[in-house]
Symmetry: C2
Subunit: 426 residues, 2 copies
């Protein structure tokens, strides 16, 4: 017998409750993100029997978006109750030319999540978070964001006809600011870092004025985080229900990395996908300007020392990463590694990825590409094993990062003579 | 017996040859775009028997991209021979809130082609053009572009590992310039208008140095243009194989409009889709700064007087529109109409679409939304009939157009007290 049928998240939700990642204490489904016992972060736990009923055939018969995995998610089983732009099932691009350039001699793939509706992987987590939030009775949608999340929450709210209030650091890339404001919700620029924004949102969520407000990455964070699992499910399905030997994932809070690893575990546990010989290995990528998780790994430490982020990879600039220790755990357990790239390497990574695959990534994708190349050079990534690189956002959102390097190669007057003088034609 | 099996475009191409839209003269499949008899533009003609074999079931079993319609396209029947980013099957978004705001009392849909790989409908036409070009032996890919086409050709070439050379007016939006250059091909900024760029490309294509070069919208234009038909096929399929009563389509060259109309005709002729009672009506949208086709219609004239384009809708700024007379013909034959919007109306249209649907359109989408509203206000669009609006591009590419209007609604220090003083919390 399953509790799921009576879940506050809706009929047929396989989610049973929330469990502390620290002490293991369990709580009922609610808008709660920290343990009442130890203040540790909470994670959704499921009815394992319900998960086990999900089959490949069911999934393959579903829509070409994240909701094909609804049986493995905490909310959204009822299509009519979803708050969503229907993200997901983004391209998995074979990257032979990139593999050749960075020295990988096995299949290399780029999972291109810039193809989502607001052009980042955040549409996945927002769709799951807001669908859960609606089921839990929230009527206003909010977030603390480094930009991509802001775009996604504002767009989801517009589609749903719901009010939104989005909090961002005041110095975000102009594209991300405009793309949030255009949807017409409230947009609050905070004179501080992302970590300051996040802290303020944690305070606001406790006030009476915000009791109807779901902050996707604060009070409904456990549901939000589950949305990232779809980036693991999809890659496995797109590879023919195989889990790749190596994955390289950008890290901000570190949560995305842990959830892709969790997705692979669930698929294997449920008999849905096959693990590679020797298991899969998870690799994390940060920027040099914000590398607290990678630094802890390099030091062999469990303590993540918060940093004040700098550098162009703003979407990854979380100096005090909430899931950092869990990312460390995933990487250590699977035999992976982490590294980081500086701003010049990030720019080169964007160019390299674009030239070799036709995928134009934002700075976070430049980080991941550059770090993948470094990990091969340093021998941490095995060049003989199939590898997937995750691109989580769109180059159009961080144009300034490459604007100085990427311009016309010729400028000529509109005449054949001018074209001849420029050497375009003889 | 069909000629298609021996087509230079590949095994199983249903294309039989090229036909002059002016005098009807027919020519074999080749890289030719103007009639040797009368200099009229050429269009692909098909083996009607081959087209008639295509079934809904075949299409529905195909991939979720334009290639599901390969049986109705001139090239790309062999997956291995495609030059493509696999665009298409973009969302058809129900737009109830927008309908309410503009006074439509029947179902309203937005076909959101910003979801394509390089975020405009151009990926469709480029995929078909370059696939045909490769079959015809071309090894370098080129175009004259107002921006979106440049992005798409450069990205397709990068994915295919082929050289590219792209020609643009020097004063394009920065986003479109960077997003072309980043793929690493040649990018030529021309000190002139799009019409100047186009003229120069028509001269270059005749030179020996460019004999290996396919200009997607010059020497392989007939194949390129066919790719737009997929925007008609998809809408009909997404509506359950029904053709909508009214469609509103942005016009640059006017070609897109004529091809959507042609797609509807083909679907009805082939028994694949059902026409609405009274037939479908096609509406065209231009900007006030470049409205030669709409002006001809308003004047009741068949003569399209070229203009020097101005205004923010740069992707539509073709002052001498090659397919303008055919767009007039479609609109007149179907009982539709055309109108145009000024820059303020375009900006308002972008905001209206974003707020009510969560779709962030480039200026061209603002044009279409604004013109749809005008056409209802003027009684030209019937508010009681189901309508589809085409959004052909992404707001991130024309940020400057709305940057002055779309910014933060609050700016505060990161403290609860500051939030209180700003009125965010009591």
């Amino acid at each position: 017998m399953s509790l799921a049928v009576s879940s506050p998240l809706g009929l047929n939700s396989p989610a049973l409750g929330l469990e502390c990642r620290g002490c293991g204490a369990r709580f009922p489904i609610a808008a709660q993100h920290a343990c009442f016992e130890c203040f540790g972060p909470l994670e959704v736990f499921y009815d394992r029997e319900a998960l086990a009923t999900v089959t490949r055939e069911q999934i393959e018969a579903g829509p070409k978006n994240i909701w094909r995995y609804a049986g493995l998610l905490p909310a959204g089983q009822d299509e009519a109750q979803r708050v969503t732009l229907n993200p997901g099932f983004t391209p998995l691009v074979k990257a032979d030319a990139l593999a050749a350039e960075i020295g990988l001699r096995a299949p290399l793939w780029v999972k291109d999540d810039s193809a989502n509706p607001t052009h980042s992987f955040k549409d996945r987590v927002v769709s799951v978070a807001l669908t859960a939030a609606k089921a839990l009775g929230f009527t206003r949608y909010a977030c603390a964001s480094t930009g991509n999340l802001a775009n996604s929450v504002a767009a989801h709210a517009a589609r749903a006809g719901a009010p939104s209030i989005v909090f961002i650091p005041y110095d975000l890339e102009p594209g991300k600011v405009v793309m949030t404001a255009v949807y017409g919700g409230d947009l609050v620029a905070i004179e501080g870092s992302y970590d300051d924004v996040n802290r303020l949102c944690s305070e606001l969520v406790e006030t009476d004025d915000f009791e109807d407000t779901a902050f996707v990455n604060v009070n409904v964070r456990p549901y939000y985080a589950e949305g990232s699992k779809t980036l693991g499910y999809e890659v496995a399905e797109q590879l023919g229900w195989r889990i790749p030997a190596q994955v390289v994932i950008p890290m901000a809070s570190g949560e995305l990395l842990t959830k892709i690893d969790k997705a692979f575990e669930e698929l294997v546990a449920g008999g849905l996908a096959v693990a590679p010989e020797g298991g899969w290995r998870v690799f994390g990528a940060q920027s040099e300007g914000c590398n607290p998780i990678a630094t802890a790994l390099h030091r062999g430490s469990d303590e993540i020392v918060p940093v004040k982020p700098t550098g162009i990879a703003k979407s990854l600039n979380i100096g005090d990463p909430a899931a950092g220790i869990y990312a460390l755990e995933s990487v250590r357990r699977t035999g992976g590694w982490m590294d980081y790239a500086n701003d010049d390497e990030i720019r080169d990574g964007i160019g390299l990825l674009a030239r070799t695959t036709g995928v134009f990534a934002e700075t976070a994708g430049g980080v991941t590409t550059a770090v993948a190349a470094k990990l091969i050079a340093s021998g941490k990534l095995d060049p003989q094993l199939e590898t997937v690189i995750y691109n989580t956002g769109d180059g159009l959102k961080t144009l300034d990062a490459v604007a100085g390097q990427a311009g016309p190669t010729y400028r000529v007057k509109p005449s054949l003579r001018a074209a001849r003088e420029a050497g375009l034609v003889s």
